[in-house]
């Protein structure tokens, strides 16, 4: 079981990367209305964060163990 510190670390890093993805989406969707642009960015953020969490946690664990 990964430690809590590690999970917080993974969570924060995941959120950061997801924010980056959401920002990239916002830029790419600049031609759309604000609801679509920001609503889409929120959805992209949620999905990206969900995708990244199970990837980052074991990766960080391995890195820490190395």
């Amino acid at each position: 079981m990964p430690g809590r510190g590690l999970m917080r670390h993974a969570g924060a890093l995941g959120a950061l990367l997801a924010l980056g993805a959401a920002a990239a989406f916002t830029l790419a969707a600049s031609g759309f209305g604000p609801v679509a642009r920001y609503g889409g960015a929120v959805w992209v953020f949620i999905l990206t964060w969900i995708i990244l969490m199970p990837v980052l946690a074991p990766w960080l664990k391995e890195r820490r163990a190395a």
Binding site: P2, G39, W43, T48, I50, P54, K61
Partner: protein, 935 residues
């Protein structure tokens, strides 16, 4: 005095720390070596571990070997160090230090990973060292220590709250990552987790906590009725909980649905207009989302905290997104989500309702799946009538002790295993052995606890009670089999576990595609949700892409995938147990379904394993009874198996056997006796030749019998030949039929025996077996099985489980037959309780039916996903202009689970081919075709 040897393995975060830690350890070792007393040692050890952790994020693991007695802690420490010095190179450790206390020796090693692999290597290295150590015996290294005791403990847990394959994957991942955990197998349907762990490294509490942290409830499995009670209670709780939520979700969801479609078809005539007001729909849907649906948000949050994306997350994102869009369209209709006409309250409401329905059905299914165990448990009567002094006392069955005298009356169940002392009855053993006919019991016969006494009363002495009874062992075997995993299930779990991740990736990709590309290219104002008249003319690009993205998430739920294998395995092993066939694991079911060859041990398996009189050929003027009477009188004092067979043969035919006046055994020849007033010779040709008896007239008949593999003995009285007797091992009833049925199943049948080729071939001919391996020594049986496997055969070995143990273990499936009540002692993967070879056929049929069901279930589970995911992702949209709504996705998901459940239920109707036809007359029964016995 128990000695515990603790081997603590400390992993160093980086190479630079190794030296520092080594120095520290060395120093502490000297401190430890001179310090006295248990407490101070533990203190030192704990302090050291803390220190090491602080100085490099070091994690530690412990391997514990226990047992034996040591008289000197000093010599113990010396032995440990010496031993470890030999072990270290094997496992690649960079150093070691030992701390000792009066009774425990913790050894800190470093440079080795603390994972299951590292610990496994350590355990194997210690075992190997004990087995091959060259310096003295193992007692010198660890006085009195048994290396077999070095190994992981097993923790059996009852886990509640699991709903799908991803839960299995989450728990296996979380527990498997704990240092000191060697193996973990979670069974969704049984709601169990079996964990192999090193007790010194990780505790049962830590394992349970790891599971609880994921949002599931874990408790140690109890045994017997208590376990069933707790399991039933937990299941009932879940059924009640989900049932209660259904009562909330469904009526409200139906109102929301009717309200949403209030202006469609004939509904305006019957449904009041106010039901379609968005604010009312909001008021009706909100309690559904924050009541029954809230569990998914809570569980997905718990999972995410531990880096686990499970089904709850799919549900939560699906319900959350649908609800959010509806709320935005209600309160901010101009926000671009489709406006007031696109309030998807019914999506959120029905999605929740369908998911809750799925959970409810799963909880019900899991309850039915362990029906076989519950049925077995219900066989044991609650009370036993024990005779204490002259009185009959009724006591709880659990309190019966070995040696107690128990009285059983007609119509009562037998409380424990025992031996009949007096009385006579017929006992129905069908519930344990599958035998259709009651079995007669008289003094000296064994009775099995849980079976039903039919006609008479009898007293018996208890020989096995509690966990030792055959019933308890059968229950244990069925439980173990149902908790284990077949290889196909591991694959399904792996796929389902990874599935969630890829579903989210797909969902994101689908969202991006429809947002940036698809909407612009294909969107039409005539867009409809499938199977509804509901149009989405006003839906914006975000709402459109989000709807498709959510539908993909919901429709992808691999619930059915997770249930497919375990539900069928539980039903299959339960069905097998009903017929007296006990699979020791799900892997045995899978292996048995793939068999292509069966190897039978001859003696004791195909044949009865004891010689019997098969032919009596009297000389002219003499009758059979006289021949047998004389021969039996000559042999009555003999201890030779052939002699015993003749005496038994005579008695079985109702002939009174006299005692001889004199008796002399001539080794390798036969016997000479004075009986019935004449001098009787009974033996082989050599005896007759030496005593000058003319047997030429009987030679032709003798050679014919010998050609059939029988052993022939000549009988002479006062120097005149009076007849000959053929003796052979007889076939068991149903052997011929079993072999014939196996051939019809397409299996290659081989007979393996240590007998000479002529005898073996004679038996094989009678059985219809073409392939015979004769004159095989017991130790070479496994080699012969291996040879068959080398020819790409999947081999089952059928034997009595004693001298066939190596071959049973070598075979893909080892079947121990006729084990009666000695179930736990048997080797092999399948135990056949009855001594009926036709059960081999039933075993294969049940295994094949089970695996057929597994494959059908997996097909139905995957077909929903493979067909519906592309549809949900909008593949057909450019042509149909129709989208899958989230509630339709949830409905399809629930249907896939329901299909799997219903399909598994069909397995309960499975009847083996032998039961489908009327009971045939026993072929090859008692005195039928025979085979020779080596004299």
């Amino acid at each position: 005095m128990l000695i515990g040897l603790y081997l603590g393995i400390v992993r160093v975060g980086s190479a630079s720390w190794t030296h520092t830690v080594e120095l520290l350890l060395t120093d502490w070792y000297f401190v430890g070596a001179v310090a006295a007393g248990f407490g101070s040692q533990v203190g030192l050890f704990s302090h050291l571990r803390r220190l090491l952790r602080q100085n490099g994020g070091i994690r530690s693991a412990t391997v514990m070997a226990s047992g034996g007695t040591a008289t000197s802690t000093t010599s113990m420490v010396a032995c440990c160090l010496h031993h470890l010095a030999e072990v270290l190179p094997v496992i690649g450790l960079s150093g070691a230090a030992v701390f000792f206390t009066t009774y425990k020796v913790p050894v800190i090693l470093f440079g080795l990973a603390t994972n299951a692999l590292g610990i496994g290597m350590m355990v194997r290295a210690i075992r190997h060292h004990h087995q091959t150590g060259t310096r003295g015996d193992r007692g010198h290294i660890f006085p009195g220590h048994d290396p077999a005791e070095v190994g992981p403990d097993t923790l059996q847990l009852q886990v509640t709250g699991m709903s799908c394959a991803s839960c299995v994957s989450s728990i296996e991942g979380a527990v498997g990552n704990l240092p000191g955990v060697a193996s973990v197998a979670v069974n969704l349907n049984a709601g169990t987790a079996v964990v192999g762990y090193n007790a010194g490294t990780v505790t049962a509490s830590q394992i349970k906590k790891a599971i609880r942290d994921l949002g599931y409830e874990a408790s140690e499995r109890l045994e017997g009725a208590s376990m069933m009670d707790r399991e039933r209670e937990a299941r009932q709780l879940e059924v009640t909980r989900q049932g209660r939520w259904m009562l909330v979700a469904w009526p409200l969801a139906m109102l929301v649905m009717v309200g949403t479609f209030q202006d469609v078809w004939i509904l305006p005539r019957y449904v009041p207009q106010f039901l379609g007001y968005p604010l009312l729909l909001f008021a009706l849907t909100t309690p559904i989302v924050f009541g029954p649906g809230w569990q998914f948000f809570v569980n997905s949050y718990r999972g995410l905290r531990h880096g686990v994306a499970d089904m709850n997350l799919l549900y939560a994102t699906g319900i959350g997104a649908a609800y959010l869009i509806a709320v935005i369209n209600t309160f901010w209709p101009g926000a671009g989500f489709g406006g007031p006409e696109a309030v998807f309250y019914e999506a959120a409401a029905l999605l929740t309702a369908f998911i809750i329905l799925g959970r409810y059905l799963e909880a019900l299914t899991r309850g039915r799946a362990s029906e076989a165990i519950r049925k077995l448990m219900s066989l044991q009567p609650k009370v036993a009538r024990v005779i204490r002094g002259d009185a009959e006392v009724e006591i709880p069955s659990d309190e019966v002790e070995v040696g107690d005298l128990i009285l059983v009356r007609p119509g009562e169940r037998i409380p424990v295993d025992g031996l009949v002392l007096d009385g006579y009855s017929a006992v129905d053993q069908s519930m344990l052995t599958g035998e259709s006919m009651p079995v007669e019991k008289r003094a000296g016969d064994e009775v099995i606890g849980g079976t039903m006494n039919k006609t008479g009363a009898f007293r018996f002495r208890a020989t096995r009670v509690g966990r030792e009874t055959a019933l308890a062992q059968i229950i244990k075997l069925v439980e173990d089999a149902q908790s284990s995993k077949a290889p196909i299930q591991r694959l399904a779990d792996l796929v389902a576990g990874k599935f969630i991740f890829w579903v989210h990736v797909l969902s994101l990709a689908v969202f991006l595609f429809w947002f940036f590309v698809g909407y612009g290219l294909f969107f039409s104002p005539e867009t409809r949700l499938m199977l509804t008249p509901y149009t989405l003319a006003g839906v914006g690009v975000f709402g459109f892409a989000l709807l498709i993205s959510v539908a993909v998430l919901v429709i992808s739920c691999p619930c059915a995938v997770g249930m497919a294998t375990p539900s069928a395995m539980m039903a299959g092993t339960g069905k097998a147990a009903e017929h007296g066939i006990l699979f020791k694991g799900a892997d045995a079911v899978e292996a048995a379904s793939k068999l292509t060859a069966i190897v039978f041990d001859k003696t004791g398996t195909l044949t009865r394993g004891e010689p019997a009189v098969t032919d009596v050929l009297p000389a002219p003027g003499i009758n059979e009874a006289d021949v047998l009477r004389l021969a039996a009188a000559a042999e009555v004092n003999s201890e030779h198996p052939l002699g015993e067979a003749i005496v038994r043969g005579a008695r079985d035919r109702g002939i009174r056997v006299e005692s001889p006046e004199t008796f002399e055994a001539i080794p390798g020849h036969g016997v000479v006796a004075q009986a019935s007033g004449c001098k009787v010779l009974l033996g082989n040709r050599r005896l007759m030749a030496e005593r000058g008896v003319a047997i030429q007239g009987m030679i032709a008949a003798a050679e014919r019998l010998e050609g059939e593999g029988k052993t022939v003995m000549f009988l002479a009285a006062d120097g005149r030949p009076v007849g000959l007797i053929g003796v052979a091992d007889t076939l068991k009833p149903h052997s011929v039929e079993a072999v014939r049925l196996l051939h019809t199943l397409g299996l290659e049948v081989t007979m393996l025996t240590g007998d000479n080729r002529r005898t073996a071939e004679a038996v094989a001919r009678q059985l219809g077996i073409n392939r015979v391996l004769a004159e095989v020594l017991p130790q070479d049986k496994a080699t012969e099985v291996k040879a068959l496997q080398a020819r790409s055969h999947r081999v089952a070995m059928v034997g009595d489980g004693i001298n066939d143990a190596p071959a049973l273990a070598q075979a893909d499936v080892g079947m121990a037959i006729g084990s009666g009540t000695d179930i736990a002692k048997e080797t092999g993967h399948v135990v056949l309780v009855k001594d009926d070879l036709r059960d081999v056929v039933t075993t294969i049929e049940v295994a094949r039916a089970t695996m057929r069901k597994v494959k059908q279930n997996l097909f139905w589970a995957f077909i929903y996903n493979t067909v519906t995911i592309p549809v949900a992702a909008g593949l057909l949209y450019p042509w149909t202009r129709q989208m899958v709504s989230p509630e339709l996705a949830a409905f399809l998901m629930a249907i896939s689970s329901l299909t799997v459940t219903m399909n598994t239920t069909l397995l309960k109707r499975f009847v083996p081919s032998l039961r489908r036809q009327p009971e045939p007359a026993a072929i090859g029964a008692t005195m039928a075709p025979v085979a020779g016995v080596q004299s």
